[in-house]
Amino acid sequence: MSIFTTIRRNIDRAFLTFFMLFLLIAYPLAPTTDFGKFMTSWYTKITGWITVLGAWAIMIGVFALVRNNLKNIYKRAEGWYYDAVTIVSFVIFVVAGFMGGSTGPIMTWLTTNVTRAVSTALLGIEAFLATSAYYRAYRLKTLDAAILLISSLIVLMWMGPVFGYLFPQINDLAVWLLLNPNSAAQRAMFVGIGLGLIALAVRSMLGRERYGA
């Protein structure tokens, strides 16, 4: 393999490694020395580039989406009419965006009367689905389930003001549950998640996190 082929195959990984290391080094630096000023000014510039790259990613995604949908419509693939709905909605929103921007009258009307209305209706369904999930999970089958059920009931009673009024001890008990066992478990999980993130960053930086063939 020639040197040029090696460079061509690894150039993206080299760029990624360079920029990741640069950002990691620059992030905790204070602009008090010349080096600090240099690093922080470039840090600001590079994070600005990330926004531009994000915009490009959205454009690539939208092009890929339109291409896939048009292909499905053309081939009359299964459920192709949903793809047609996607394309029509996409066109309506793009036109609305060009006619007055994201805060223009057409976009505001679409957001208020279509998007928000549908989202609110969906959120209403949530309560019923959550209740059926709780019903299945909170059965006194094991000791763990019993602890979960009793703790949940205490917190639930704390949330309903009438119980707090009738049994004031519930308030202290619920706050203790949230601030002690709950916080302790969450912090332990945060440590694990933080370490997992570092490991993922190392794998991505060295090009070993695989997403495809």
């Binding site: 989406l65 998007t115 997992g196 070993r208 063939a213």
Partner: protein, 256 residues
């Protein structure tokens, strides 16, 4: 030079970063760390097997919060690694794979991960672009719910930056009698995921899943070496409790 109060944080970060990198590089010399197999990965295998037996598809979604920035982006990356694994299993055993996603910007990566398994297993004729379906933004939950009711998959996998799709997708999966595999590193949603799933990737397991499933010693060592960080935190905790009990100004030391 370092921002006030950041010295210790920066030092700890670089020590952990270096440990994980060194452990990964040691894999080249044949030193592979032992890690436990994740039950949820076994669940995915069982789920794909069940789908093949029942002649029904497998459904995958990367969570409703697949954003391009911050912590949610890293969870999406982890979810896409799991998709690559699921795709390979589906190709190997002959199950149909349905993918629903909520944001267009991730489509190129999702498409790549979806196709990769079929290509690697030599089953590229089974790739069907119509099986990748967008339910953009707010329509994601209801779109996936409708798709689950229509297609009746045997296994439903919803992993990644989950917002409030945990309950919607989880409950619909239960309604159609599917095995539900969930996972997120978002602590706010984790209880709901546990509530509605048969198998769960809890917190850090989500990040580790792709690496563990790959079987690549390099990636496995990055997961195994995280234990060094955990032991370090444990030692710091015990030491902190003792020093605090002795009345030493530990808070001032930690904020250098």
């Amino acid at each position: 030079m370092i921002k006030p109060g950041w010295m210790l944080d920066t030092l700890i970060f670089w020590v952990l970063f270096a440990t994980i990198t060194v452990a990964a590089i040691l894999a080249r010399r044949g030193k592979v760390l032992r890690i436990r197999w994740l039950p949820a990965l076994e669940g995915i295998k069982d789920g794909v097997g069940r789908a093949v037996e029942m002649n029904q598809p497998v459904h995958f979604s990367p969570g409703a919060g697949t954003m391009l920035s911050g912590d949610w982006a890293t969870q999406t990356v982890a979810a896409i690694s799991i998709l690559a694994y699921v795709s390979r299993l589906c190709a190997k055993y002959g199950a149909r794979l349905l993918v629903s996603y909520p944001y267009a910007e991730w489509l190129p990566l999702i498409e790549e991960a979806y196709k990769s398994g079929f290509i690697l297993e030599g089953r590229s004729e089974r790739i069907n672009p119509a099986d990748l379906r967008p339910y953009l933004g707010g329509s994601f939950n209801v779109g996936v719910m409708r798709r689950l009711l229509d297609e009746k998959p045997a296994t439903v996998i919803n992993v990644g930056p989950i917002i409030w799709d945990s309950v919607d997708i989880g409950e619909t999966a239960k309604r159609i009698g599917a095995i539900m595999i969930g996972g997120t590193a978002r602590l706010l949603q984790l209880p709901y995921v546990v509530l509605t799933s048969d198998y769960v990737f809890i917190g850090e397991e989500l990040y580790a899943a792709g690496a563990v499933a790959s079987g690549d010693p390099f990636q496995i060592n990055t997961v195994g070496s995280q234990d060094v960080g955990k032991y370090f935190v444990l030692v710091m905790l015990v030491l902190g409790i003792i020093l605090l009990a002795l009345g030493l100004p530990i808070n001032a030391w930690l904020s250098i």
